[in-house]
């Protein structure tokens, strides 16, 4: 505890030679409102307040889909917040191009981000014309299957170690009155799960070709057909899952009502808040136990241009702070995500995070769909999968055809 505050103080001194007697209020918007998320963001706030400034929390509930329109309206409306969350990738691309965002190159140079940030692709997402416009704060990998020990124990089958075993165990779960696969109704969850299935069953290369290179022919081909067949399976297993939010679905896994959930590592925060222990109460299978990879999605903070020089200075402080070692550790432990710095030591991390870190260290990484496709294309994919998962009359073949169509038109 003591050590952390001293580090914070040190960082503050580095970033702010002038005294912080005058508290500058920075409004920071984000959509981290679930239990684990709120605890994590509190770490940022605590650290920033310790510099003598004030973090004004602008949480907007209801996932990024609700929050992003508000953030974008604020920025384009000429009344921007001081800092705002976006996902790694292309969500803020045009705002940066339009010159609405503050240039963080100076802070990045001072903090030697180019060297520290691992994988470096994260910083690439923040870079336009050689200038850096955002601070990546964490890595969130979608590539996980979360399994409830309780559910499998009650169904009388061993906890599976990969997707195929999971599928095989589904009838037993159903027999025990469990929902095999928990799945929230929001569209991003279904399309996300599909991408995970693709990486796990068709391999990272195929995924990269489809999402990054927009290879429509491949998307229409037999490898992807296999993925769609698996998605069809997942659809059946999740047909009784009638919750909206991802964390409600996670809660079903925590309470043993559902066998498992394909969800990003942010779900870990929920297990942690519920007091569950990895390996004992629940298991996590990276890459569905098939292709162990980490996708480098996650969150980054952007700093809209402000007129007030005091605030602009404070923005720089906050940016540096978010990248600092200590804050990275504290934040990511709470959030259940992986730090963006390669040089931090996460002793406190639990089993699952350690698994992730190990994969990261090996360099088995792929990009997140958000980094590869525009929100427009992803939106169409979301629509497709939420429809697919809810309407059993859509055959996997039809869905694949439409998927290939979207890929062919993607930019």
């Amino acid at each position: 505890m003591r050590m952390r505050s001293s580090v914070v103080a040190m960082v503050a001194c580095l970033a702010l030679p002038i005294s912080a007697a005058q508290a500058v209020e920075l409004e920071v918007t984000h959509w981290w409102t679930s239990g684990g998320e709120a605890a994590a963001v509190a770490e940022f706030a605590k650290a920033f307040d310790a510099t003598g400034n004030k973090w004004v929390d602008g949480a907007i509930a209801g996932s990024g889909g609700v929050a992003r329109p508000i953030m974008i309206s604020r920025i384009t409306g000429g009344d921007p917040m001081a800092a705002t969350q976006f996902n790694h990738g292309r969500q803020a691309e045009e705002l940066v191009e339009a010159g609405l965002m503050r240039d963080l190159t100076a802070e990045a140079k001072a903090g030697n981000w180019a060297k520290l940030v691992n994988p470096s692709s994260l910083l690439d997402s923040c870079t336009l014309d050689g200038k850096i416009y955002c601070v990546p704060v964490n890595i969130h990998s979608w590539q996980w299957l979360w399994l409830s020990h309780k559910a499998f124990a009650e169904a009388g089958v061993p906890v599976p170690t990969n997707w195929d075993e999971f599928v095989a165990a589904a009838p037993a779960l159903e027999k025990a009155g469990k929902i095999p696969l928990a799945m929230g109704q929001q569209s991003w969850q279904t399309s996300g799960a599909f991408a995970v299935l693709m990486v796990a069953l068709a391999g990272p290369d195929v995924f990269q070709k489809v999402y990054k290179d927009k290879d429509a022919k491949l998307a229409a081909g037999p490898e992807i057909a296999k993925v769609f067949a698996a998605a069809d399976n997942a659809r059946k297993m999740a047909s009784q899952s009638k919750v909206q939010d991802w964390n409600q679905a996670t809660n079903m896994v925590i309470t043993g009502q559902a066998g498992g959930q394909i969800m990003g590592d942010w779900a870990q925060g929920e297990f942690q808040v519920a007091g569950q222990v990895a390996g004992k109460d629940y298991s996590c299978l990276p890459g569905l136990g098939a292709n162990e990879v980490i996708s480098t999605g996650g969150d980054a903070f952007y700093f809209p241009k402000l007129d007030d020089p005091e605030k602009t200075k404070a923005q720089g402080q906050l940016a540096s702070l978010m990248m600092s070692k200590e804050v990275q550790v504290n934040f990511n432990l709470k959030k259940g995500s992986l730090p963006v710095r390669g040089d931090v030591d996460l002793n406190a991390a639990n089993d699952c995070m350690k698994k992730g870190l190990a994969i990261l260290a090996k360099g088995n990484i792929i990009s997140d769909p958000n980094q590869l496709m525009t929100p427009d294309s992803l939106g169409q994919i979301n629509d497709l999968f939420v429809e697919f998962f809810n309407d059993p009359s859509i055959t996997p073949q039809d869905a694949q055809k439409r998927f290939a169509g979207i890929v062919s038109k993607a930019e």
């Binding site: 984000h30 409102t33 509930a61 309206s73 000429g78 939010d245």
Partner: protein, 309 residues
Amino acid sequence: MADGTLSPAPGAAAEPLREPRGPKPRKRFSRRNIFIYGTLIFVSAYYLLPLYVMVATSLKGMPEIRIGNIFAPPLEITFQPWVKAWSEACTGLNCDGLSRGFWNSVRITVPSVLISIVVASINGYALANWRFKGADIFFTILIVGAFIPYQVMIYPIVIVLREIGLYGSVWGLVIVHTIFGMPILTLLFRNYFTSIPEELFRAARVDGAGFWGIYFKIMLPMALPIFVVAIILQVTGIWNDFLFGVIYTKPDTYPMTVQLNNIVNSVQGVKEYNVNMAATILTGLVPLVIYFVSGKLFVRGIAEGAVKG
């Protein structure tokens, strides 16, 4: 009330041979009454059901909610969810519940209601009594505007507000509410002022009163019923607004509905239905109270204003 409609007439049916005399006998349980009251009670049950569910659930503890169904009355009444919804529920780092949003809503609603009604009543008055060339065209546009989905207008209005430098301020939001309240309110006021005898207006002109003189001294005092309707419509409309509140304000000025959405959608662990219900009721309380208190005035105002057209 229907005096005597339901008064019993004992014996009336038992003596069929007697010549009719005295008050006409009426049966309490005539088929007609059974049908009317039966239907009304059934319909009322349908209308009251959600309110009952809200109140009952908000008074239950979480364990009880998990076991029982939502229609069961609370076994152990607890006000904890209400306290939590009002002052403790969290969104992100802010754990002050709805209380903050309440005052923001007041600060937004009061000027918005006042300004939108003033503007619309003057519009309606000008359209009803001082028609000028082209006025009808503008009014037609306004009415058509009532059908334009808000979503279509959000983006351009962000730009307009940015250009006049009011984006993000309460005044920007007041303007937005004034604009979107204008079509229906103007229609209401125009109809009302049209229904006031034209001769009154002419008499006032002969008496030398001008545009504003007639408005303030003659029309305004006569238009109280329609003002009540307008106030009720606007208070509920603006208080209940979510879309504009979330787009055109900042977190520290978020109205109550936005806070409600945040609380309901901020699932930290399990969904706390009781807190959500309490928050929902709290948010709806202001318009509900207004309706129950002024329901009669509202109906009368509608009868006098909206009917004529």
